[in-house]
Amino acid sequence: MSESTELLLQTAHRIFTDLSTVECVNALEQGQWAQRLWDALDENGLTHALLPVDSGGSELGLADGVALLKVAGYHAAPIPLAEHWLAGLALVDAGQPLPGGALTIAPPDPARRAVPGTHRRVPWGRSLPVVALDGADGQRRLKLYPRAVVVTQNANLAGEPRDELDLARSEFTLDAASSIDAMRWLALGALMRSAQMAGALQRCLALASAYALERKQFGRPLAAFQAIQQELALLAGEVAAVDAAVDAAADAAEAGDGLFDIAVAKARASMAVDAATRIAHQVHGAMGFTYEHRLHHYTKRLWSWRDDFGTEVYWNTLLGRKALEVGGDGLWPFLTRLGSSAAA
């Protein structure tokens, strides 16, 4: 990691610590947009970090971007940073300028060809301009809808907006050829969401460890009980596994396509959620089941994020199909190409 990235991460950490507060994250659940947080990130160049310099960015690689999203996840940042980056990358790829302010995307669906029609579960669709990929008639068109028609306002388990939009009835101000296809877009989304999940998992471990040291029962801190130690060690294993899978995928995606590495990362991250959140909650007792305690900011996000950009079932099926295609003799060569610069 370069020194400038290190610095950027420190800046991010500081901004999130100051502004992604309990109140701010709770306010999102009441429908409040975290303007101060967004502005602070914007002023420090973090909202455009992944974009080329001439688009106002600092041309951060995917691996560094992933490191930044881990920090965002660690602080349950109540803003669509990943979605904004995905939108920005697609616009830049299509040679288009970025409108000012935060952007979101209509989550890509490789199985679906046309954009027109309703799109469900669009992050912050009610309030942000939507970038969507239109794959109708085998073309790839990128469209920008400044104010999409909202059918219903919904939210995920963490209270992050997930709205149903009718793009057929919405006006677009941009219609440009794009070289990114839906699968690549989905994969990039999966990678970014996995990074946020890695950060949220880290925080679950940090919270649970701290709580176990501080809470006393039977005259001893919970941490003194072997049953608690064993559970937290299992949680640490899940956290570590996700971190490793995400880092490998980020590197592979930066060097090339990295589709299968990303499949591993998103699947592994989603697979970790059940055990990790179960342990984190169990260690926290009733306190962790309250609205007052912060733990739910992370666990609710993890329960939601595991479904975004493909569940573990989606990505494991992709990997399983690949395994069956390459067969018993081909599986090992396939596995050893993962995480390397050679295309899998």
Binding site: S209, A223, A236, A241, A244, R268, M271, G320, R321, W332
Partner: protein, 394 residues
């Protein structure tokens, strides 16, 4: 954010990938020549002949300095060699301990004479070591060892009993952890490591059959065995520190998650055939939960491999990573318990026989060996205790 449980990505260098191609060609030839039958848990299968072949290829002790028989190659190259051998189910048990543990230990703590005497022979695949740590009353609680060495003229007189010594009956030497001064307040003090040649007078060895009825490990009894001063490894009294420092190497390698890989590989052929036979479009096996279940194994395997590689890369750079290694071994060996069971369920669901062919053979072997995965080299409960310490909980 804590840096403790992070596993930065380690990309393999070009030379390692070049080596991979050579190793694959070697394994193809050996398989074609019938020199081995791929096995589950093949680092528990010993073939001195196969070990000597690896030695001749320059693949044993390959990271050691040339003057000790090594090839001065990187630990990432060794990593690639190891994962290729294990995934192919090759019989690497004879030299496993000496190449993985003894050589590096002598390099770090041994005398020049010890290195010259043993390392080149290890690198040729001709000299095998056993581990003499466990005793009837010292398992997880290793510091409870009672085997004792008393000071005598020119050396030590060793008395005690070691158990579970893998392949001691095929080994030439054993590194024995013993007490060289009485137990004090600090239980870890007063322990030492002695290099014992197993043909010395006063040693008695008895097989202990494992649950499959195979002679894998042994009971080794030492009755006033003379061990010269020249066979003390490292410093007298430093035994505990020396043992602990080896753990990162011993615990994070690919043998902690690849032991039953051949079961998975052998399942894919029959599974693809079953899927091909299913013409009923409403019953599309390719997108069935079985395909997903195979994918879930691939996901876990690929992740463990990245974790293990991350440690290998950082160990090379001299980092101290015992806790991270414990994480890999805990996750990896739990995966090793899972893999054969999942493969069995997938096969049964697809109508593949559990008892025939290559798959049936490897599965049966795996089921009988899997219980050892979460015991050998430190149990998972003990590993998780170490992880908890790393978390600052104890």
């Amino acid at each position: 954010m804590s840096q403790r449980f992070l596993f930065p990505h380690e990309r393999l260098p070009e030379v390692a990938e070049t080596l991979r191609v050579e190793v694959r060609a070697f394994l193809r030839d050996e398989l074609a020549a019938g020199s081995f039958v791929p096995g589950s848990d093949s680092w528990m299968n010993a073939s001195p002949e196969f070990s000597r072949k690896l030695g001749r290829a320059g693949w044993l002790g390959m990271t050691w300095p040339k003057q000790y028989g090594g090839a001065e190659r990187s630990s990432l190259e060794r990593y690639v060699l190891t994962e290729e051998l294990l995934s192919a189910g090759a019989p690497v048990g004879a030299h496993w301990i000496s190449d993985r543990q003894t050589g590096p230990m002598l390099l770090r703590y041994g005398t020049e004479e010890q290195r010259m005497r043993f390392m080149p022979a290890i690198a040729r695949g001709e000299c095998y070591f056993a581990i003499g740590m466990s005793e009837p009353d010292a398992g997880s609680d290793l510091a409870a060892v009672r085997t004792r060495a008393d000071r005598v003229d020119g050396g030590w007189r060793l008395t005690g009993r070691k158990v579970w010594s893998s392949f001691a009956h095929e080994a030439h030497c054993m590194i024995v952890l013993c007490r060289t001064s009485p137990k004090e307040e600090n239980r870890h003090a007063g322990l030492s490591q002695l290099l014992v040649e197993l043909d010395a007078p006063g040693i008695e060895m008895r097989p202990i059959l494992n649950l499959a009825g195979h002679h894998h490990f042994n009971e080794v009894v030492f009755d006033e065995v003379f061990v010269p001063d020249t066979r003390v490894v490292g410093e007298i009294g430093d035994g505990w520190k020396q043992v602990v420092s080896e753990l990162a190497y011993e615990r994070s390698g690919p043998e902690r998650f690849l032991s039953y890989y051949p079961v998975l590989a052998s399942l894919l052929g029959p599974l693809a055939a079953q899927i091909g036979q299913t013409n009923n479009p409403t019953q599309n096996l390719a997108d069935s939960p079985l395909t997903t279940a195979v994918g879930a194994l691939v996901t876990q395997l690929a992740t463990l491999r990245q974790m293990s590689l991350s440690i290998a890369g950082r160990l090379q750079a001299g980092a101290s990573l015992e806790i991270e290694a414990a994480v890999v071994k805990d996750l990896g060996t739990r995966f090793e318990r899972l893999l054969p069971e999942q493969a069995r369920l997938i096969a049964a669901s697809a109508g593949i026989s559990l008892h025939d062919g290559e798959f049936g053979r490897l599965l049966a072997e795996a089921v009988l060996r899997a219980p050892s995965s979460t015991l050998r080299g430190g149990t998972n409960e003990i590993l998780r205790g170490a992880i908890a310490r790393g978390l600052g909980l104890r």
